[in-house]
Symmetry: C2
Subunit: 341 residues, 2 copies
């Protein structure tokens, strides 16, 4: 298996990428690694750490796409950037299986869409992170930001792709697929959701109906389907609320002598809670439905995150997710009342 | 001032309503209270508590609308329900200023819309709760669920109404109004948000631009504008995440002897955090833009919540919010490119 990693664009680059590969090398000795980015900086980092790699190729790409760049412009104009060089290689070289990047989400999605393209039959690729739940399981959120405006057919494809991915990722026979809504009754929702509901019932998936955002992380569902705008608001609202509560608790621990003593005793238990809720630990978000595997890892990824993302890419390829999605989507019944134009 | 309270429909009814009025009677002695509901049960409760009221009228309405009822059907068919009787009295009796209910949100919104109607010029009334922020201030979320599908003109009216309400409620000169989006750049968003953005810039409000859901509770914004579907997902995602973190912390406190000792010392500080994050304590959500004041208080409201909601209704009326909204909306510049048909 051959993996290409964009070594720049994230907060801890290129260190986190190189350290992550070093960690992964032991467990995934059959992966050939390619990294793109400023060769001098990467080589300097490797020397400074005293690393030697069995299977690492460095491809020079001195430019970097930042979060301040306009994605559509950057993908076209920054031809020597670590991301564009990686995307071009992924596209041209059939032996490269997957790409990992910690860079600008917008640029990765735009680049993936324009340069790599969709699996035939998939109306829209979607960003699909795994989130922690109350029960300690994970739930997939699809789409979490690639498509701000969607049609029912897109949500049907998200449901299919999410179900197939969850099944392979966690070995579940019948992933419970739910539609994110403003109420649980069948008739609830905005126009998009109301029109999607009856279609999801016809798909060869375990569609369990509408759920409210409040119950999304209960652990009673495996795949949450929504448009990318709603998914983005859901994910970031969750992040914001977790940060708000954690901040309040930090404050509470400092609010009295008694609480300070309490803090000393509970610190370790709290660190565990914080870790459990940090969904970036589980790896990255695949841009699912692209014709080649692209995984966006968080901008603040550390070596451990990159290790987890490499493991995720390995599983994604080994399980042949893309082939199974192609098969699943292209065997769907035709909905006369649906079209994506 | 005359206030009508639907005494049934919530979890702790009619006790919470009657106890709440009892609490409020001291501080708001110039309010005349009317309650609707099963007269025998209400009178029985009052006798059992040994209460006497100076200014309380009980109107018999033996039926109750529950959350299992279909709102549009229930509002039309349950003519003797506590909510419908209250709405009918609010509509017909000009001396009644406002209505408070802890019942089904859907029924309150449907009833408010069908029986009471909009302030002239307001394209859509909206549900507008106040949420706690990191800085200890409050932020208004408008719309949080009344309108699942919106047009730019609706969001413009939400922005105007939210700004006017915030100004009067918290005495702020220039409330910072933000558009809830999937990114902060001006060009971000789905079609609705992208079309709304340039219009908000033309309104006589302090529009500060797009914000992401992650920053919505930072305390840097006073009014968050969005369609009701997105607002509902945002609010419930926040509730779900707070509940998830609190549950994890509860678990962490039990995870070791050390943590258990920590818990004993920190319990009081934690109770404070939980209280601060419970936005129901601040009162209810006005159905803002209705031609008469309607406030939905949480289904699990206790006497203290009802007290806070009565105080809120009092302020709403005293500050003449409805008149100011009418004035604000009807003095808006005309947008040729906007219509609400």
């Amino acid at each position: 298996m051959k993996l290409i990693l964009d070594a720049f664009g994230g907060d801890n680059c290129p260190g986190a990428i190189i350290d992550g590969i070093k960690l992964a090398e032991k467990d995934f000795s059959d992966i050939e690694y390619i990294v793109t980015g400023d060769k001098k900086i990467i080589e300097g980092y490797i020397v400074s750490k005293g690393y030697s790699f069995k299977n690492l190729e460095i491809v020079d790409a001195p430019d970097v796409i930042t979060c301040d760049d306009v994605p559509t412009v950057a993908i076209r104009s920054k031809k020597d950037s670590s991301l564009v060089v990686a995307l071009d290689m992924l596209k041209k070289d059939e032996t490269i299986d997957a790409l990992i990047s910690t860079g600008s989400t917008g640029a990765i999605l735009t680049g993936g869409f324009l340069k790599i393209g969709r699996i035939k039959g998939v109306s829209r690729p979607a960003l699909c992170p795994a989130l922690p739940t109350k029960k300690g399981t994970n739930v997939l959120l699809i789409d979490c930001g690639a498509n701000a405006d969607c049609k029912p057919i897109n949500l049907c494809h998200f449901a299919m792709m999410g179900s197939i991915y969850y099944k392979e990722l966690y070995g579940a026979e019948n992933p419970r697929v739910a539609l994110l809504n403003n109420g649980t009754e069948d008739s609830k929702g905005n126009e998009l959701v109301k029109n999607t509901f009856p279609l999801l019932k016809k798909l060869p998936i375990n569609f369990v109906g509408n759920i409210e955002a409040r119950d999304a992380l209960s652990g009673d569902y495996d795949v949450l389907v929504c448009d990318g705008f709603t998914g983005n608001v859901f994910l970031k609202a969750t992040e914001g609320a977790v940060s708000l509560v954690m901040g309040e608790i930090k404050g509470a621990f400092k609010s009295s002598l008694k609480a300070k003593i309490g803090a000393m005793f509970s610190l370790k238990a709290f660190k565990k809670v914080k870790d459990k809720l940090d969904y970036n630990k589980y790896g990255g978000s695949p841009f699912i439905g692209c014709s080649k595997t692209i995984i966006k890892s968080h901008g603040s990824s550390k070596a451990e995150t990159i290790y987890a993302t490499i493991a995720q890419a390995y599983k994604y390829q080994s399980a042949k997710i893309n082939e199974k999605i192609s098969e699943g989507i292209n065997n769907l019944p035709t909905f006369e009342d649906l079209s994506d134009d």
